[in-house]
Each structure stands twice: as C-alpha cells, then as structure tokens.
C-alpha cells in the first residue's frame, strides 16, 4: 500500500465519527546553528473519537515531536492542525488532553495524592472534589493505598502509573502518551498495557500513544501510524480490528503476526531510504 492509497483510505472513512485530531500537510522545521532540521514533513492524519492510535518508528522519526505539536508544546511551521475543531493552543487552554511523559515527572515535594490533584488544583477545583477524583484516578491504576507515599518511595512502574492517574484525574477525552512504558521491564510493561487497554475500553477515551515496540503498538492500537526519519513523515497507516476487550493471548494469533509483519516491513522500507 502506498502513501497515497493510505491517505485515500483515511479520506474514504465514513464521516459518522467525530475527528478529534485533524492534521493536514503539517511540517515542522527546527532552525539550528548547523542549518535547518526537518523534524516533520507533509504529515496528514486524522484521529477519530475513541481511536487508540500508536505512532511507531525509529528514534528521530518525529513521533514524539508530532505528539508535542498536538499538545501545543511545539509549534508547527507549516500546514494545518486542529484539535476538536480548534487550534492546539486553544485546546491546551481548555485542558482538552492529558499528557503522559516518558518519565513520571512527579514533583518530589508532593505526596502521590497531591501529585494527582496537581492539575485539579491549577484548574481551581474544590478540595473535596480534588480528593474524590484523585481517589478514583488512583483506583483506575490500582494505586489506592499509596496516597500518602512520596514518589521516591515507589517503584518505577508505580511512579509511571501515578503519572497516568494524574493525566486521568481531570477526565480529558484525549490522552497523549509519549513512550510511557519505555523505561520499564517487560513484565511490568505487559501488565500496564493490559490495564491501559481495560481503561480505554471502559472510558472510551481517544488515545495517541508513541512507542518503539512493535508488539506493544499492535497489541494496543486500533490504528498504527508507521513513521520514518529525516524528514519525519508517515509511511503507512494500519487499521486493526481486534476487539476492545482483547487479551495478551492475541499476540499468538496469525492476524497479530501479520500486522506486526506489515509494521516491520514499513519500518524497514522507511529505513532503506536513508542508506
């Protein structure tokens, strides 16, 4: 499937679902002392309500940059992007999304509960409501009972779960996750992947998820975006039709392996352009 066909496929999708993220001809060039760096070039993408979209590609392919553009942490230098029909800046001002970083980024002087209530505090929500929502968010990531602990007293996996609880606490419909499980070991990662899927199935949030693990991308996603570096661009978009209540067992099925194969082919093709 060529790039054009993919774009056509996306365009032909029935318009029943609402587009949460709509990107057209987006490009981003960083000006550095060594000349311009083309981080993103000619990116077209639509993320619909309830989608779980994974961005996969080698490091330097711009997948994190793309997520940061959606989050208004970087500004595009060309093309159009809208989040829920408004600019990324307006969407950020409206607190339209929760962002989970590669590292937990918990504030060490705040207890786990007070870390989770941090966004609620900034949004000037009452104290009772804050505590109630923190309880709910911590329950979702199975961290209830650790409210009074401080971040450094928790393991790496627990810290990352706390940071997910923080992103969930204000109940934004869009969840942006930038390699949230990249630093964790395989077993913890599998477990957190399962929990994330359950969460997605239960809450019907829209998730954009950056990863460099093929099995993770295939297992989690409803749509996989394969990217290639220099300049960062989309080379393939793969839709999967696994049920939302999928389990880790699907990783043994032929469909799973076929999609994983296609992702790998795409990554390889993107890479060979370089050499």
């Amino acid at each position: 499937m060529t790039l054009k066909q993919v774009v056509n496929n996306v365009a032909e999708m029935p318009a029943s679902k609402k587009a949460v993220v709509d990107i057209k001809k987006l490009s981003l060039t960083f000006q550095t002392a060594d000349g311009p760096v083309y981080a993103l070039s000619d990116v077209d993408l639509t993320i619909e309500e309830g989608d779980f979209v994974s961005f996969i590609g080698p490091s330097g392919c711009g997948k994190t940059t793309l997520l940061r553009v959606i989050a208004d942490l970087e500004q595009a230098t060309g093309g159009e992007i809208s989040i829920n029909g408004v600019t990324p800046h307006e969407a950020r001002e409206k607190r339209a999304y929760g962002y989970v970083f590669q590292a937990p980024a918990l504030l060490p002087w705040r207890s786990i509960e007070r870390n989770v209530t941090l966004p609620l505090e900034i949004m000037e929500i009452s104290k009772e409501e804050r505590v109630k929502r923190a309880q709910e968010a911590l329950k979702l990531v199975e961290l209830n009972g650790f409210e009074k602990k401080f971040p450094w007293q928790l393991s790496g996996g627990m810290q990352q779960r706390a940071s997910i609880a923080r992103a969930l606490s204000f109940d934004a419909d869009l969840l942006l996750m930038d390699e949230p499980f990249g630093a964790l070991d395989e077993i913890v990662r599998d477990h957190l992947n399962e929990q994330l899927l359950k969460l997605w199935a239960r809450t019907n949030k829209t998730v954009a998820f950056v990863t460099h693990s093929i099995p993770e991308a295939v297992y989690l996603s409803s749509k996989i975006v394969v990217m290639s570096p220099r300049p960062g661009r989309i080379i393939d978009v793969i839709e999967t039709d696994f049920p939302k209540d999928r389990t880790l067992d699907i990783r043994e099925t032929p469909e799973f392996l076929e999609i994983a194969h296609r992702v790998r082919e795409g990554l390889r093709a993107g890479h060979s352009n370089d050499e």
Binding site: D72, L73, R92, Y99, L107
Partner: protein, 385 residues
C-alpha cells in the same frame, strides 16, 4: 600476637606515662633556685600516671575493640586531665612545666585519640545509642582541644595579652553576662536579624522580578555582582554617615553583604526546575504565578536555603566589623575594639566566644528549618515505609 597487632596508641600512652614518672615534673624557680614540684609530693598525679602506664600496657596487648574499652580509656584520660589541671594551679607548676609534665600530656593525648576513634566508628541500629555516640565524639574532641589550650598556655606561662587560657575567658564570660547580653541584643537581635531579613527578603523579591522581566537579568545581575565586590570596610563608614551610629547603619551593611548571594542563588534556583516538569505545567495551561508557586519556588528551595546559610554567618561578621566605624557604647564589635585598646584581652575573647556561639546557633537554626522544609530533597530523604 604479632608486632603489627599491638595497639600503637596505647603503647605510646604507656611509654610516655612511664617516662613522665622518671623525668622532672617542673623546671626550677628562678628566684628560689628550687625545683617547683615532684611527682612524689603529688599523690593524685602519681596515681594518674601509674594508671596510664598500667592501662596503656594492658590495652596494648588486648587492643581497644569495644566501645566499653574506649569509655574506660576516656575515663582514665579524664581523671588524668583533672590531675594535670590541679597540678598546674594547686602546686604552682603553671609557667614552670617540665618534660615530665609534657610527657604525661602526650600520654593523655594518645588515650583520648584512641578513645574518640573507637566511639567515632561506633555503628548501631539503636537510634538513641547512635545519637549519643554521634553527640559524644564532637563534644569530647572540643573539650580535649580546650584542655590542650589551657594546659599549653598555663604550662608555658604564655602572657595573657597574647592568649588567655580558656578558664579565664570562661570566668570573664560568666561574670559579664549583663554586658554580653546588652551587646548581643544590640548587635545580633537589632542589627543582624533585621539586616538579614531585609537583605535576604529584598534579594528574594528582586530575584523574582529579575525572573519575570528579562532585561533586569542583563542589567541588574552585573550590578549586583559589583555591589557584592565592594569592600565592607569601605562601605561601613559611609553607611554610618548615611544611617547614623545606631543599628540601622549595621543593618545596611548586612543588606549589602547578603543581597548578592541570595539574589544569585534564587535566580539559579528558579531555573532549577526540569524541562519535563515545565512542559507538564504547560499541558495544564498553568499561568506564570501558578507555575512559580507550585513548581519553580519549591524546586528553588535547596538553592534559597544555601544562600540563607551562607548569609547567616556573613551577617554577623558584617555587623561586628561595621561597629568598628561608629556605634553607641554598646555592641559586640564596639566592645571588641575598645577592650583591645584597654588590654582586656579576656573580654575580647569572651565576645569572640559569644559571636561563635551566636553564629553557630543561627546557622544551626537555618539548617534545621532547611531539613524540615526540603525533606523531600535527595540529601535529606528518609525511607519511610
């Protein structure tokens, strides 16, 4: 047992004490031409020396393995120190001390060294015991230093003008508490505290202004740097002319001294928050003040406390020196400058001791507040499960 396994400090202690029994205790009085004192005439000292010989040889073989053994050694050393002081003052050895006396002091030194060494290496999971050991070591060492000071000054008959013995300073300290209290009130409570609060407080506010208004960073920081380089003995007389003789001029000097360290540290601290955390706050559309109070100021606290600790000692030095350039007839710096002129060196030392105590207590208080306020910082973390 091999030679290397012998406890060398105890061996030195035993040999020195043995030689102390043989060598003359004190020199000859210039006027009478008689030996000042004999070990044989002083039973207490003879017992102490004999104890040192016995304990020294015993522990040379046994080794000082346990804290109990360390305590025994220290107890013998304390008894020895008491006898040495008593010999100096009660038997008129002061100013005439001879080789026997100094050998005995050498023996005590070896014991104290070994004893403190053992206690310093004490490790226990029992909190109280560990705290006690951690407390005993610096106190024992400090007391020993005071003892050496006392013995050396008295034993050699050093003139009081050069260096008075600590006992004399202590006596003067206790007998002049009202003067010292008045000086402390004038210099520390009035000048140091107000100058410190004004200097650190204004620098903190300016640091936030510098952070908020970028051109101030370019313009104000170099100026602040210049102010901090001003010599305090040049500034102090000018401040006295501007603000008068009372504490206000001293507070002004302290403000000048403390301003820059606080400014630079706070500005650095405000930039200490990581990029990731700042991005995090941006995703919540957190405004400048919200981010300042929730992220950047807490992250800056270790830097701010660093400046507060540096300034706690700077402020006292500034106030005392500034008082040399004009003051009402009270204050620590005033007392030092006038009592030096009247050759009352013990009073000068009493003021120095007061300054040392006040400075240490001030620093300690700031450090304590730091521990409480930034207990989350890696250097203070206690694992609580």
């Amino acid at each position: 047992m091999t030679w290397t396994k012998l406890d060398k400090f105890c061996l030195v202690a035993a040999i020195a004490a043995l030689l102390a029994l043989i060598f003359p205790l004190a020199g000859v009085d210039g006027d009478t031409g008689k030996q000042v004192a004999f070990v044989g005439d002083i039973p207490g000292l003879a017992v102490a020396m004999a104890l040192c010989v016995i304990a020294g040889s015993a522990f040379t073989w046994l080794g000082v393995g346990s804290v109990t053994a360390g305590m025994v050694i220290l107890a013998i050393a304390v008894f020895g120190c008491w006898q040495a002081i008593s010999v100096l003052y009660d038997y008129g050895v002061a100013g005439y001390a001879g080789p026997g006396f100094w050998l005995f002091i050498a023996s005590l030194w070896a014991f104290v060294w070994r004893g403190i060494d053992v206690i310093a290496n004490f490790h226990s999971l029992d909190r109280t015991k560990q705290h006690l050991a951690n407390f005993v070591v610096p106190v024992a060492f400090g007391v020993w230093l005071l003892f050496v000071w006392e013995v050396v000054v008295s034993g050699f008959g050093v003139p009081q003008v050069l260096l008075p013995p600590p006992s004399m300073i202590g006596e003067r300290f206790v007998n002049s508490t009202d003067i010292l209290a008045a000086d402390f009130h004038q210099t520390f409570v009035k000048a140091v505290l107000s100058g410190y609060v004004m200097g650190c407080g204004s620098a903190f506010i300016v640091a936030i202004a510098v952070d908020r208004v970028p051109f101030l960073k370019r313009g104000l920081l170099p100026l602040g740097n210049m102010v901090s380089a001003l010599p305090i003995i040049g500034v102090a007389p000018i401040m006295v002319m501007w603000f008068g003789f009372d504490w206000q001029s001293k507070a002004a000097v302290i403000v000048i001294m403390t301003f820059f360290p606080m400014l630079v540290n706070t500005v650095t601290g405000l930039n200490a928050a990581g990029k990731l955390e700042k991005d995090l706050m941006a995703t919540y559309a957190s405004g400048y003040w919200s981010t300042l109070f929730r992220l950047r100021l807490p992250a800056a606290m270790p830097f701010v406390f660093n400046a507060l600790k540096i300034n706690s000692t700077l402020a006292l030095i500034g106030a005392i020196v500034a008082e040399f350039f004009g003051t009402p007839i009270v204050g620590m710096g005033f007392r030092i400058s006038t009592e030096v002129g009247r050759m009352n060196i013990d009073m000068v030392w009493a003021e120095i001791a007061l300054a040392a105590l006040a400075g240490t207590a001030f620093y300690g208080a700031v450090a304590y507040i730091e521990r409480k306020a930034t207990s989350w910082h890696p250097s203070f973390r206690v694992r609580r499960h």
